[in-house]
Amino acid sequence: MPIAIGLEGSANKLGVGIILHPSSSTPSSPHDSAHSEDEAFTSKPTSPPVQILANLRHTFVSPPGTGFLPKDTAAHHRRWVVRLTKQALKQARIQLEDVDCICYTKGPGMGAPLGAVAIAARTLSQLWDKPLIGVNHCVGHIEMGRAITGAENPVVLYVSGGNTQVIAYSAQRYRIFGEALDIAVGNCLDRFARVLNISNDPAPGYNIEQLAKDGKCLLELPYAVKGMDVSFSGILARVEELARRLTTTTSTNPWLDPDTGLDITKSDLCFTLQETVFAMLVEITERAMAHVGAQQVLIVGGVGCNERLQQMMGIMASERGGSVYATDERFCIDNGIMIAHAGLLAHGKGFETKLEESTFTQRFRTDEVLVNWRD
């Protein structure tokens, strides 16, 4: 029964996951409760069942008003990887002989943090004499989403701090139908958070979401959908302008909503930004669904945790007679288990990354991966 360890660190989250793919002859059974807070998970019957033996993560959070820099992030990963790996192994209660391969994020992502994790992976591989599997981060998200939700062949919206892509599977490739032309939607949200000094703990996007719940006034922002693609830099520039205006607003220099006469608040700005960018994302996803003739949508990536986005997507999907699939923060946010899962799928088809080739890269397109574990 193949078991893989997965190491993820392309941004500020360091994840270590251990996964088991029960072979088709063994009946998949619920794991006993002695294990980690993630009880083992048998996914819906349409995708290969998986058992999660461990899924640990530690996030590097930078102070409000700042973002995380590569050098500091890499240092964080170096500081935590040994501890997390040991903990994961303990929780999984496996022997080293049971481990089939060491999977790591080959890319895309930030250089220094990716490098720190790649070095850890290579070290483990040589220490324990296990093959290495370099995994594409985006493919990891997609495969984990499919496994957990059981969605058969959905259009995938992958949205995070570093990526915004609309993907559909075709002929052993995850083809990118639409994407952000400049910055990712999560990046737009994170940078907006900095101007307003919104806390980065646990994540800026999470705090924006909570603030937006109290927002009522929809201000005007540019809406940049270009065919199947979207653009956020113009929106960011404008919303940062509005945020700066908010910081200079006082009782003698007020900024009022013209309809209600109430003060414009941080919450209104968060609300405005979310409604606008999420509408754009739902729109391009809808286009892809219409073009491909799909009924299902799967949302993956950190921004996919956002409940407003899930709600909007759900309304769109049901208006089309379809449904939306999403996972919770264990799998939406960057994690090691998705790397282990995707890596093990590839390994099952004979894929291996030789030590000399176990590099990492900042740019790694989703459609470069041959998805030979699917028809």
């Binding site: 959908v225 065919g227 073009h291």
Partner: protein
Amino acid sequence: MAETSDSRLPAPFNKSTESFELIAQGAESLLYRTTFLSSSQPAALKVRPEKKWRHPTLDKRLTRARILAEARVLVKLSGEGVVAGGGGRKVKDPKKGDVGVGGMRGCVPKVLGLDWEQGWMVTEWIEGKTVKEAIYGASKVQVVDDEKTVEELKVLLRNMGEVVGKLHACGVVHGDLTTSNMMLRPRASTSDAVTGCLDGDILLIDFGLATQSHSDEDRAVDLYVLERAFGSTHPKEEDLFGTVLEAYANGEESGMKGKAGKVAVRRLEDVRMRGRKKSMLG
């Protein structure tokens, strides 16, 4: 006709006694086949329904802007009321400096009426199937007679390139070029029977995202959208896409002969690279 589709028809159509056949439910709009003003004038009714997942203010703003933009572009391209003469004829050899008014008459549907508040627009009905369906049909036949089908496909692709070239020469970029937004209208002499004939006039539809532009960048992005959509939808025919670009830059009927077409195609290489080199974090 008391169908459920009635509830989505805006005024005045929700009280009409004419028939409405739902043809397509695209991402942006519902398309109905019906008649307009007279029972003998077949028409395509495009309804942009409310999107309940968008904030209502945003929704109204977008719907109005898109209907108006689309209608303006179509009217310009068809040259309504500007140049007299019968419709449905291809305007050959547009003169230089003729900024595209009427340049696409016969290659785009004529606008018959609209209401931006209610969210609808009516255009003439185009008989035929989408290029996407035509290629799918040919794809199935391919096993039987390989070379002939490939040649027929190339003819289709050349026509595609030429019509996009004509469009760009008129100073318009479509904004959403896909094989679902191109109609293949069979010529009177041929029948689109079992053989899946790929010959015919190509018309562009769905100008909801069109803008008026002469810039190489916008043209290149337009081509890029088409290239990617084509590759994603027709992976088996992806290698033949070069035929489209060649016809765009050099084709007989393309308005982009000369430097303009080649410049746009070269710019396309830059646009492609942009996607690849883009930094992806996290």
